[in-house]
Symmetry: C2
Subunit: 285 residues, 2 copies
Amino acid sequence: MTDIRKVTVLGAGVLGSQIAFQTAFKGFDVTSYDIDDKALDSARGRFAGLVDTYRHEVPGADDGSAAATLDRLALTSDLEAAVADADLVIEAVPEILSLKQDMYRRIGSAAPERTIFATNSSTLLPSDLADATGRPDRFLALHFANRVWRFNTAEVMGTERTDPEVYRKVVDFATAIGMVPIELHKEKAGYVLNSLLVPFLNSAAALAAGGYAEPADVDKTWKIATGAPLGPFQIFDIIGLTTPYNIMAHGDAGAQKLAAWLKENYLDKGKLGIASGEGFYRYTD
Amino acid sequence: MTDIRKVTVLGAGVLGSQIAFQTAFKGFDVTSYDIDDKALDSARGRFAGLVDTYRHEVPGADDGSAAATLDRLALTSDLEAAVADADLVIEAVPEILSLKQDMYRRIGSAAPERTIFATNSSTLLPSDLADATGRPDRFLALHFANRVWRFNTAEVMGTERTDPEVYRKVVDFATAIGMVPIELHKEKAGYVLNSLLVPFLNSAAALAAGGYAEPADVDKTWKIATGAPLGPFQIFDIIGLTTPYNIMAHGDAGAQKLAAWLKENYLDKGKLGIASGEGFYRYTD
């Protein structure tokens, strides 16, 4: 159960549009904000695409409920109006600290006192943003994974200043929109998933970069040993190599060497993963 | 195809007996060596158990072929006789450097020139043992995983002195006994599997030990995100917590802290994993 009814999602990019759509799909009134008419036009395209995706990929969503989701989705480029009556604001704007801080300052004044703010930031900690919100007790992170209808974890992470009741409300909200809430008890860069995935992918990359074993053999080993459907290099290709590269490039000396290897042998050759047709494997679709 | 016909397995413990049984099951003549009559009696018990396991778990092995495997398995406690006509010796004795070196010195004199030696050592590098064999060109590592009939990777890892033709023969042999050979191009502590598994399990342990998230939530996250059937803490429980503890205790400062946490909260309370009825989860069977 949740007493959150009206949800505003700031940013209608890949993940912002998914969060907005999933929330509306589950019956909430959602306002999707982006910066100007051009961005909103893109957002309309994304939402139309999501109707189609849900119809095909979400069980039961071909009964008209995917299309009807659009009726609960309002789009606007007026930030103050977007948050003026929101119970919850989920922020999914680009990962630039000053941009997010400015936005929190603006909505901090414009939103009612009751409004909870949640950031979907992958790379910033909520404590980096808490002061800018002007309501650190009603602020926390709610972190989604790409393709939210399928990879439906929602990592919930507060700061030391987050009101436990607010935390609990957001956990309940995550459940209400069909997510599996993953509760973090304190702040951790990378949350749970990237805290596992980054060292896992780095260790795989180190085997290939060091010339110890071929990616396909590394994948085979992992799959046989753990029963997993995907080995680390298949996961690299699904994620796309650019994001792991950026994380490695900002890591320690060992990680930076892996980044250089990834750049030279893959990124610079246009091998970016499944989306580019080739990464560690070739794809012919 | 392989021209290896006669195989001797040194050590009839958990893994040695599995390697010997699997090799005989696939039609090879196998000599299983262990140190004395008492050890050989244990080995007989293990082999009888494996007949039963194969009957139930290996497709097609309930046609009498599991039982018939025993006809191709000879047991002996005479080391020199055990290797006197072997094409391949697979060593799976306890992980004590001096013990292994002594054994290699003895079989180095007793085995014919043609015999290939392979160590199943998990923790030593083959180059630690190569000199003791007296035949470094015909020596390499062939590393199996527990429950070889199911987790059928065989990691093949030579030293700089291993003859490539010998390496190739052992790869072919691994295939011939139903393993998936995983070829390492150079020496790597932990081979492929543990090079992935150790940082993966350590990063999971760090999340729980640091109080960031509960083991069950960590597992849930991994399973949803990657489609894997098992999360890291379920894998801990299957492996048993003692081996990861030993690896952590020999690791860097961070790993040693995790070892201390594992000891205090789990090992010291008798929570050793599935085998003890409880680890990170409780088991009621």
